[in-house]
């Protein structure tokens, strides 16, 4: 059977002028569990243009990975349900696309790198087989040509002695090398959007630096849009163009990278920035955001951050703050963003 190319469903690359490559619009994701409905994502919107790096920052349970999985179409549904929202890629809503259509986008035009390469790779197949699978499935290539391509890709992500190592299994590689294999798989089909979910969290700093350098280089080469999902404010400061900070399934602040580090406009972003130790100077006692992240089954009323917030007023308990626009490129979901912005770090 002849495989249709993805262009049958979606317009070709770069055909849409100024429209962002990928737009997430008011996305909601719920998980229907026995304990109740977990609202993991509550109205998330962001956009990504070609060549741009968007960092989605948040702690565990903030919904950053679920959003990414919704974009990739790899959520298990059920238990997951997407009651509202759109994910537009080149203007086409991915959520209403047929499964066949999604398969053509997934891996081919939007690809993803996972956090834990050891559990993301299949332990019983060689890495060469797993990389070449991309070509066999999406391009209908023969095993032999696929393997050739796999070696090329392993060279590209700078795995030493690629030709000899192509028949090795994942456990025979170090953590950094495994992450390179993941990257090789994700860029195999020249995707336009790459989603990297905590790509360096499990790695040493020296290896992290290697991987981030590799990603930046690949991005420059092919003008990919990169969504970097992370909790590491250091990595974000190094590579991001713009940042979306997530808390309890919502975006609480959108900002260009320089602005947010200079003057955060949401108490949560401010708290995060104040709470990290620095390698370049020894500070006093760390500021700690008090309390715990909310239970998604039992969310606080009003602003989800209000039980932990030092700027809290009465209306925070009752009114959910909308995303207030601060400037054309900045927004904050805090009733008192002006106060937060003024009382900012010097």
């Amino acid at each position: 059977m002849k495989k249709r190319s993805a262009t049958d469903v979606l317009p070709a690359e770069g055909g849409l002028g100024n429209e962002p490559l990928l737009t997430v619009d008011n996305l909601h994701v719920e998980f229907h569990t026995r304990a109740g409905i977990v609202r993991a994502v509550n109205g998330v919107s962001y956009s990504l243009s070609a060549g741009e790096t968007l960092a989605v920052l948040g702690e565990s349970g903030s919904g950053k990975s679920v959003t990414a999985q919704a974009i990739m179409g790899i959520l298990d549904m059920p238990p997951a349900v997407i009651p509202k929202g759109e994910i537009r890629f080149h203007g086409t809503n991915l959520l209403t696309l047929s499964e066949e259509g999604r398969t053509q986008v997934r891996g081919e035009r939007i690809a993803m790198i996972f956090q834990d390469a050891l559990s993301a790779l299949n332990p019983v197949f060689t890495v060469g087989w797993q990389i070449s699978e991309m070509f066999r499935v999406h391009r209908g290539m023969s095993k032999r040509d696929g393997m050739k391509k796999a070696v090329e890709l392993m060279d590209k992500v700078r795995i030493p002695a690629a030709r000899q190592r192509v028949n090795d299994y994942p456990h025979q590689f170090s953590g950094g090398m495994r992450q390179r294999i993941m990257i090789a798989m994700s860029i195999a089909l020249d995707p336009e959007v790459l989603i990297a979910d905590e790509p360096t969290t499990a790695l040493d700093v020296t290896v992290q630096a290697q991987i981030m350098e590799l990603l930046a280089e690949l991005q420059r080469e092919s003008n990919m849009g990169l969504i970097l999902i992370t909790h590491d404010l250091g990595v974000v400061a190094d590579v991001a163009d713009k940042i979306s900070v997530m808390y309890a399934g919502r975006i609480v602040e959108n900002a260009p990278v320089h602005d947010i580090y200079k003057a955060p406009a949401h108490p949560y972003s401010k708290g995060l920035l104040d709470s990290i130790p620095r390698v370049d100077h020894k500070g006093q006692e760390l500021y700690a955001i008090k309390g715990l992240p909310p239970n998604l089954l039992d969310m606080p009323t009003g602003c989800a951050f209000h039980p932990r917030c030092p700027y809290r007023q009465d209306n925070c308990v009752t009114d959910v703050p909308p995303l207030y626009e601060i400037s054309g490129v900045r927004s904050s979901a805090c009733h008192y963003w002006r106060e937060v912005l003024d009382g900012s770090r010097g």
């Binding site: 702690e59 565990s60 349970g61 030493p160 170090s174 953590g175 950094g176 090398m177 040493d204 700093v205 020296t206 290896v207 992290q208 630096a209 290697q210 981030m212 350098e213 909790h231 590491d232 404010l233 250091g234 990595v235 974000v236 400061a237 190094d238 991001a240 990278v257 320089h258 580090y261 200079k262 708290g271 995060l272 920035l273 709470s275 990290i276 130790p277 620095r278 390698v279 370049d280 020894k282 500070g283 006692e285 760390l286 500021y287 700690a288 955001i289 008090k290 715990l292 992240p293």
Partner: protein, 338 residues
């Protein structure tokens, strides 16, 4: 150097080789993983010694040696002047009350079939003199509260907690016997940023209150700087540099320390293009077959012939005020942008 009375932990030439064998019936030793290969340092009361290095450099094996969970191949570990490395039975048990550990992996270090109350209270079963049976539940609840967990969750099982919360259970267990030394092996690496700060502050507060001494092992150099008074940098089983926190971070002398520090992302985008970055190529060599002479020479940009022939000792070198193990040691600030 502080007076000997303040010294709580004394480590001398500590070596741990794990034998590599071949054959099934007649096992022959064909080599050894040199996990820790000659480490010496002191720890004073109320002090924090941070130990940093990449995975596989031997920092976790070092932690186990300090706890006498592994027996050293050679060398000595003295707690309050008494040798723990060869202690046995009741003597070892008494010594271990004084030196406790917070483990790295909260998923495997907590027994899934025990409740949180049993896990945190287990030290009291072994050291019954610390808390009478009637007090235990209250004590455990206090500990849970102190580490930021809900004391009402005392009857829950580990799987009902998130990874971050589990690590706090481990910390509560480490604190239970109120030891003088706590060996923390990556205690905050599994925690979220906002929770990490709470735990670091907690560790610091406990240190002040009980004048605890910490061995703080972590790969996050920013966290180590924040909490440590002195820092040791490990590479392939050896300390390559040891000094006060400002000496290591602001005036590093060993090329490996410089590379490590330059790789740490600074949470400030200002001047990110100007920041100096030394990207090391490849992975560290195998500890089964470390390079001759200086172990870092295969990845070092300063390496010359002498580095392959002569092993550089950890000593104070010209132009620096702290010990480093490099023939060409030279201080060079890589962290701050000019």
């Amino acid at each position: 150097m502080a007076a000997a009375a303040d010294r709580i932990l004394e480590v001398r030439d500590l070596v741990k080789h794990f034998p590599l064998t071949s054959g099934v019936v007649l096992k022959r030793q064909i080599g050894a993983i040199k996990a820790v290969d000659g480490v010496s340092f002191d720890l004073n009361r109320g002090e924090t010694l941070g130990i940093v290095g990449e995975s596989g450099c031997g920092k976790s094996t070092l932690a186990k040696l300090l706890m006498a969970l592994e027996r050293p191949t050679s060398g000595s570990v003295k707690v309050n002047g008494r040798e723990i490395a060869n202690a046995r039975g009741g003597e070892l048990k008494r010594m271990r009350r004084n030196i406790q550990m917070v483990m790295q992996d909260p998923y495997t270090s907590l027994n899934p079939r025990m409740t949180v109350g049993d896990i945190v209270g287990e030290p009291y079963d072994i050291h019954t003199e610390v808390a009478p049976k009637g007090d235990r539940r209250k004590k455990v609840q206090e500990l849970l509260e102190v580490v930021g967990l809900n004391p009402d969750h005392i009857n829950r099982y580990p799987h009902q907690f998130s990874g971050g919360q589990r690590q706090r259970i481990g910390i509560a267990r480490g604190l239970a016997l109120q030891p003088e030394v706590i060996v923390c092996d990556e205690p905050v690496s599994a925690l979220d940023v906002s929770i990490q700060a709470q735990v670091i502050n907690l560790l610091e507060r406990l240190q002040r209150e009980f004048s605890l001494a910490y061995i703080f092992i972590a790969h996050d150099l920013s966290v180590v700087r924040h909490i440590s008074d002195r820092v040791g940098v490990m590479y392939l089983g050896k300390f390559v540099e040891l000094g006060k926190d400002a000496e290591i971070y602001d005036r590093p002398a060993h090329p490996y320390t410089q590379a490590l520090l330059s790789a740490v992302p600074v949470p400030d985008p200002e001047g990110r293009e100007q920041r100096e970055r030394i990207i090391l190529q490849g992975d560290p060599p195998s500890p089964a077959n470390p390079p001759s002479g200086c172990r870092f020479r295969t990845r070092c940009w300063k390496a010359q012939e002498i580095c392959a022939e002569q092993e550089p000792l950890l000593q104070i070198r010209p132009g620096t005020a702290h010990a480093s193990a490099c023939h060409f040691a030279e201080t060079h600030d890589v962290v701050h942008v000019n």
